[in-house]
Amino acid sequence: MDIIHRNNVTVTGNPQGPTVVLAHGFGCDQNMWRLTVPALEPHYRVVLFDYVGAGRSDLSAFSAERYGSLDGYAQDVVEVCERLDLRDAVFVGHSVSSMIGVLAARRAPERIKALVMVAPSPRYIDDDGYRGGFSEEDIDELLESLEANYLGWSAAMAPLIMGNPERPELGDELKNSFCATDPEMALVFARTTFLSDAREELTSVRIPTLVIECTQDAIAPREVGAYVHRAVPSSQLVTLDATGHCPHLSAPDATNAAITAFLAGLG
């Protein structure tokens, strides 16, 4: 199976420039980066993709077993990098994708030379001395509500939005969406994401890393950003004067400025 088709890989920007890979987080797809891409395109080759199960990926390639762990998603990243024969790319991951990037960089160090973590979280559930922002009951409720199909991404954003020429009005819905995820697959990704614990993995990161956090984030509180920064010695932390878990959408200028400054510093 061709990886380009499987992961709906899009390559844009400056073919002569260094490569930046943008990886979406849970409940989203590559549309999330719509305000980031224009800032990178002039100087960088930009690679966008959808994890299998999200967006316009090939849903037939989905395997609950493979995507039941962050490693399965990291394998997607590595395969995309291999397919494009990327060298020394910078991986930009949102939320849980920051951790997927850590795993992918460890698997293929020659392909990923630096990481940008946008609102990262290595663990969402509170633990002894660690505040992830969610209790176990919270996550149980989240998974239940996903199963009950109540949430927007599992109900309104189902893949039938895709390729439905007989229902063009569904195409318009995509403009209002950063996400199109099959409900069953979203549930697998949700379990993988919200039950994950990648804190150990962080300590092995040795490559330049930028951690971007917001002053207010209802998903990953400030403590999490500080934790990640402490755990990754080679990291710098940027706190944006912005609100939300998706600063690349809610505060695109500040987020893009932080990313491009970091990229420029890599030489």
């Binding site: 409940g27 409720e141 509500s145 927007g152 950063f178 207010q216 609100t243 809610s250």
Partner: protein, 433 residues
């Protein structure tokens, strides 16, 4: 609202409230009261989500005091975790990008631990410089709608489960039918010295047992019986006739291998067994092969009960039908006539038996033409100088190409005299009326 006319309203006459007083009451209705006690929830937040204003209706829904909310909680604090996640990844970014968002299905947490389904709309209020200052949010109670959606979801899940069960049942049925179908055909054909055999079998649908059948079996130390036929109808009843036909022909041939005698016995059995209101019959060619191990020639005696004529492919590159006209369906009448014919296969010649699934395969762009007898003859003539296996392989490829036009079951049985180097003498074919 616009009011015309000055006369008293109809209610004034009996002392009830006049429309004038209703109108006045409406005018006195304060905006404050409208906001506070509206039939929907209102709240306003700063850009960091901090609630700065909330109406009484929403406070009632939440079961919270104003002091516990205003300046203390953010909008996301009112949402369960799923809603928080959706707010952060979709709701807030879309609102910031578009300035408004509407009709979003969320739930709000209630002080007693309950959840109230709501439909949320929000707009941004901008300052004079275009900077967003406030978010105004309206929440509509969606309890009934959610109950309706839940019921729809339940129904959909039940339907999906039924469909899944139906698929599983169908797969099991197809599996059972496939096993049964195999049991109606010989697992393999016996080796016949000096003769190559080849077969093909295709059922029109995996959901139906096919009605075509064939068999080859030893009669004595030298001769072999063979037959190929087509039972009318499909499904279990047809399969029962197929089974009875196969065993009857085998038993009859061991008793008397004359082809007409074997068909007569079969006719008697079918006619007696299915004489009621469910008549069953079949078309069949039954024959006997008598290979000569010295010369390599194979004598063929056969008889047809209403079946399409066999084809004889000569190694010189010709194909001709072996006519068996006038033979009647087997099992339809008490004393039918069956037509016999004989031929001899020289080394390299092939006798081909087939069912009408081949000749009635639909061809052409719109699948409206039938393949037909002549096309079959011409096609097999091109394969005539090959072998039984090659003929069946070529026909199989042809039929695979016509897959969409194959409405009926199809069976092929090819019996070829093994090739030899000596030039064979000219042969004759004889039909016995």
């Amino acid at each position: 609202m616009c009011r015309t006319g000055t006369g008293p309203g109809p209610e004034e006459a009996d002392g009830s409230t006049s429309s004038d007083s209703v109108f006045a009451a409406l005018l006195e209705d304060s905006s404050e009261d409208l906001y506070e006690n509206a039939p929907c929830g209102y709240l306003s937040t700063l850009m960091d989500g901090t609630v700065v204003k909330i109406n009484g209706t929403l406070l009632d829904w939440l079961g919270l005091d104003r002091d516990a909310v205003v300046g203390r909680l953010r909008f996301t604090d009112l949402l369960p975790v799923g809603g928080r996640l959706y707010h952060e990844t979709h709701f807030a970014p879309l609102l910031r990008m578009q300035g408004e968002i509407s009709g979003v299905a969320l739930e709000v947490k209630q002080a007693d631990g309950g959840r109230r389904p709501v439909l949320v709309s929000a707009v941004l209020k901008y300052g004079s410089t275009g900077t967003p200052l406030l978010t105004r949010v309206t929440l509509f109670d969606a309890t009934d709608r959610r109950a309706y959606e839940t019921e729809l979801l339940r129904s959909r899940k039940a339907a999906e489960e039924s469909a899944r069960q139906a698929r599983a049942d169908r797969a099991r049925l197809q599996q059972a039918l496939a096993v049964l179908q195999q049991s109606l055909l010989p697992a393999s054909l016996p080796p016949i010295p000096g003769v190559e055999t080849a077969t093909y079998y295709h059922t029109a649908s995996p959901d139906q047992l096919g009605g075509d059948f064939y068999d080859v079996f030893p009669l004595d130390g030298r001769r072999f019986g063979f037959f190929l036929g087509d039972v009318c109808g499909k499904g279990p009843q047809a399969a029962a006739v197929t089974s009875l036909t196969r065993y009857t022909l085998r038993a009859a041939a061991l008793h008397d291998p004359d082809p007409v005698a074997a068909l007569t016995t079969l006719n008697q059995v079918l006619h007696d067994r299915y004489s009621g209101d469910d008549p069953r019959f079949c078309t069949v060619i039954f024959g006997v092969l008598d290979p000569d191990p010295v010369s390599g020639y194979v004598s063929v005696e056969l008889a047809s009960g209403g079946h399409p004529p066999a084809l004889v492919l000569r190694s010189g590159g010709t194909a001709e039908y072996l006519p068996t006209p006038g033979g009647l369906l087997v099992g339809a009448l008490p004393n039918p006539h069956f037509t016999a014919a004989t031929t001899t296969l020289a080394p390299g010649d092939t006798l081909l038996l087939y069912t009408d699934g081949v000749t009635e395969a639909r061809t052409g762009a719109d699948r409206s033409d039938l393949f037909g007898d002549e096309a079959l003859r011409a096609f097999t003539a091109e394969q005539a100088d090959t072998s039984a296996g090659a003929v069946v392989a070529a026909l199989t490829e042809l039929l695979t190409g016509l897959a969409a036009g194959l409405d009926d079951d199809t069976a092929l049985l090819a019996l070829g005299a093994a090739s030899a180097t000596p030039t064979p003498e000219p042969l004759t074919t004889k039909t016995t009326p």
